[in-house]
């Protein structure tokens, strides 16, 4: 009996080893092709449909290249940080990472290779790329990658709700300076309705029973929301030398107070409660048709503008009180980890993905505007087929108003400061503290402390 038991158990152990070896990856035979693994998951790209499209793209590359083989490594978005860091620690860093938003470039800033030497070695021509797009990837310490795509931002608006309120649609004229934050507030208040149909300008308006909201900017954090107000450091809460915190600049305070009043005084912005269940339902602020205007980026087209039960269009973001227009931008690129092997091959793949022939297909998968000027026409055709009936000019023109320093750009202790600022934002959205001056002074003190600790550690 004992002997039988022992035999059985040994067989189980053997079986497990064999079976898992079968399920394991193919042995690393010395092939001619160098492997380039593309880590996808920091940003978009993990939706099952996108996975299929990326695999097709890989086949296209592999069938036309003898010396390099690419493979898209799909990492579920929630776990990109742990997996990336594990791969780095384990010595098997991926060759390329992307699509990388500015935020994830910042998050893992120290791990990226500087591609300046690669560009200079072959005098790679960057002139076809949008100048600002190239600039967004350039930091004092390094150039993080060739630009892939841009996601300018603008207002998505629900035409049916405007019709119901008897309002004119927001202007599409970029030179109309009367389209400012006050006008936005006005319109939004008229678009905010309680269950009796009264809007927020009505003295009998019931703020506890709001069924329709005028304006929403809930899908961005503190830096993104306040970058449009014209502060000297735009979307960056520190000075250019990264030593002084400026989260309490007058413009940021003005912007945050505008939001705070929008939520708690004028009621045209939804509080945290309104946002609460949306994420869990997989629902965006715009789709249900209960929001008049939603400030978001080009990446929202892919998700938000499908199967709408109402007519929608897009309009430029308004002018701020300083008479300037800042429409924040998101930008994606691919980056190369410093510790990866086959970096030269990674560079080749990076060039291929952002080449004029391929960039439109890549951007179609990820929903971005290609960062190359020469392919705009081709991409516009795609846009017209995918999203008929909107004003495409708004998309392209908004690029010129991007925020630089960008609201997601790297600063020291990027993650910690991001969490601190978003916690402060939640104070306003939950009504815990509605005085913007207080919220931002406290935030500024915290940020300064973090910066001081950082610089104290530097040699």
């Amino acid at each position: 009996m004992k002997k039988n038991l022992f035999t059985i158990l040994t067989l189980i152990v053997l079986a497990s080893v064999l079976l898992s070896a079968c399920g394991g990856s193919a042995p690393a035979t010395a092939t001619e092709k160098k492997k380039v693994v593309i880590f996808v998951g920091m940003g978009t790209g993990t939706d099952p449909d996108q996975v299929d499209a990326q695999n097709q793209l890989a086949q296209k590359f592999n069938s036309t290249h003898d010396d390099i083989e690419i493979e898209f490594l799909i990492v579920p978005h929630e776990e990109y940080a742990t997996r990336y860091l594990a791969m780095l620690s384990g010595g098997n860093a991926p060759q390329l990472v992307g699509p990388n938003g500015i935020s994830t470039v910042a998050e893992f800033f120290d791990t990226w290779e500087d591609i300046t030497p690669y560009i200079e070695a072959e005098k790679y021509d960057l002139s076809d790329f949008y100048g600002p797009a190239v600039e967004l990837n350039q930091y004092p310490q390094k150039n993080t990658g060739l630009p892939l795509g841009l996601y300018p931002s603008y207002i998505y608006y629900n035409k049916d709700l405007f019709d119901a309120a008897g309002l004119d649609y927001p202007t599409h004229d970029f030179n109309d300076t009367s389209w400012n934050m006050d006008k936005l507030r006005d319109m939004a208040m008229q678009l905010t309705l309680d269950k009796n149909g009264k809007n927020a300008t009505d003295p009998d308006f019931d703020p506890t029973n709001i069924v329709q909201i005028g304006y929403d900017d809930s899908w961005d954090g503190m830096r993104g929301t306040l970058s449009t107000w014209g502060a000297e450091n735009v979307g960056r809460p520190t000075t250019a030398d990264y030593k002084t915190a400026v989260a309490n600049s007058p413009e940021w305070i003005q912007g945050l107070q505008w939001i705070s009043d929008g939520i708690w005084k004028d009621h045209f912005i939804g509080s945290a409660e309104v946002q609460a269940g949306r994420d869990s339902a997989g629902v965006d602020p715009f789709g249900p048709g209960t929001t008049g205007m939603f400030y978001s980026h080009t990446w929202f087209l892919a998700e938000g503008l499908h199967d709408l039960s109402f007519s929608a269009d897009i309009a430029p973001f308004p002018y701020n009180p300083k008479g300037e227009r800042v429409a924040r931008i998101d930008a994606d690129n691919f980056t190369i980890p410093k510790d990866a092997k086959n970096k030269q091959e990674a560079w080749e793949v990076m060039k291929w993905l952002t080449s004029p022939e391929i960039i439109v297909d890549v951007c179609r998968i990820y929903g971005c505007i290609p960062a190359r000027k020469s392919v705009q026409g081709k991409f516009l055709e795609q846009l017209k087929t995918d999203y008929p009936g909107i004003d495409y000019d708004v998309i392209f023109k908004s690029i010129d108003y991007l925020d630089n320093p960008n609201n997601e750009a790297w600063i020291p202790e990027w993650g910690k400061i991001e969490d601190t600022l978003n916690n402060s934002l939640s104070l306003v959205y939950t009504g815990t503290e509605t005085d913007a001056t207080k919220v931002l002074s406290d935030a500024n003190t915290e940020v300064q402390k973090i910066l001081d600790e950082y610089w104290a550690k530097q040699p």
Binding site: V17, G45, P48, P76, E79, S89, G90, G166, G282
Partner: protein, 358 residues
């Protein structure tokens, strides 16, 4: 003599209070069932929403508050657009019309689908939007196909069952060692065993990954299976607790019969511990079935993923496909529930100690 007296008094007392005991027991059963039913109703409500969400499409997900029964707004196509259909009252008559445009002041333009050129301006709030039942059963096959269910199922089953075998084997041995023996330092080692789960796993993650990477086990199922053969704190602790409820007299009896400690384990302890062993097996199954934390780190290629990892792909950056997540979750529930239901037989057998003379 004394014994027979005892028996007769016993039977007398039972006869006297027989009816009392019966009503008491019926009452007890009644209350019990009532309480359980109330609790079960509360427990099932979220589960019903799980089911209901799993058969909705994107549009239906947008409804708020989310209806338990998957309804969708009825629409009709007018001039190439889908417009919502309402039950309207016009000139005292009830008819069906579509809302094609909103107008200020809560008014709306309604048209009869048969006669789309004639518009009626009516108060929207006075009309009733029409809804119909719409169940998207196709979410299930779609979710399965999108997550490559068959392959992931195979991986998950491999990890689960082989791990279970290893765990039962090793944990029984180790728990036995900790519960039936005296040895110097054993108590300290037991605390050490427990302490391995007191350290948050986040800080061990990277060093453990590096270790497996050096072994070449990354992107294989090995890191998830092999450690199971070396026992784990939870199951050892649990089995030890159960083993310690078994009277030592049984061990002694076996020893007198000449059994070695191993034989005592196999023929005395293990048979007595069936409920505990089944519990431990079920727990392990559940854990391995739903665990995504470690598989996420070690399994790179999608063909090696487990079901729990596959579920994560629906949780993408901009598009949380809640309906697919729920559909896949419902399917994932079935095997553990089946297992649990089958294991009930072991639970219902009480452990009766007979033949132990004081």
């Amino acid at each position: 003599m004394a014994e027979t007296i005892k028996t007769s008094t016993r039977s007398q007392s039972t006869r006297r209070s027989f009816s009392g005991i019966r009503t008491q027991s019926l009452l007890l059963k009644g209350i019990t069932t009532l309480l359980l039913a109330a609790g079960a109703a509360v427990i099932m409500i979220p589960f019903l929403y799980l089911l209901s969400t799993s058969v909705k499409d994107r549009d239906q997900l947008r409804q708020s508050p989310p209806p338990l029964i998957p309804m969708a707004g009825t629409t009709v196509e007018i001039n190439g657009q889908n417009e919502p259909l309402y039950q309207v009252t016009v000139n005292g008559k009830q008819t069906k019309m579509a809302l094609i445009k909103n107008r200020p002041g809560g008014m709306g333009l309604f048209v009869d689908p048969e006669n789309p050129d004639q518009t009626n301006e009516l108060v929207i709030a006075d009309q009733t939007p029409l809804k119909h039942l719409e169940i998207h059963w196709e979410n299930y096959p779609q979710a399965l196909q999108k997550m490559n269910f068959n392959r992931l199922l195979l991986n998950t089953l491999l990890i689960t069952f082989i791990g279970m075998a290893g765990m039962l084997f090793s944990c029984s041995l180790v728990a036995y060692g900790f519960s039936r023996f005296r040895a110097p330092g054993l108590n300290v080692l037991f605390i050490l065993l427990l302490s391995t789960i007191m350290l948050p796993s986040q800080v061990r993650l990277l060093p453990t990954y590096v270790f497996f990477a050096k072994l070449g086990w990354v992107d294989t199922l090995l890191p998830l299976i092999v450690p199971q053969f070396f026992a784990n704190a939870y199951d050892v602790f649990l089995l030890r607790q159960f083993f310690m409820t078994i009277p030592l007299e049984l061990d002694d009896a076996a020893k007198i019969d000449g059994a070695s400690p191993l034989q005592t384990l196999l023929y005395v302890i293990i048979p007595q511990s069936r409920p505990a062993l089944v519990s431990v097996a079920i727990f392990h199954f559940l854990f391995a079935w739903n665990d995504f934390y470690e598989p996420l780190i070690y399994l790179h290629s999608p063909e090696h993923w487990t079901l729990a990892v596959g579920l994560q792909t629906f949780n993408a950056l901009y598009a949380v496909n809640t309906n697919y997540i729920m559909a896949a979750s419902v399917i994932l529930i079935l095997p553990p529930i089946l297992l649990y239901f089958l294991a009930q037989r072991i639970f219902t057998q009480g452990v009766v100690f007979t033949g132990i003379k004081g």
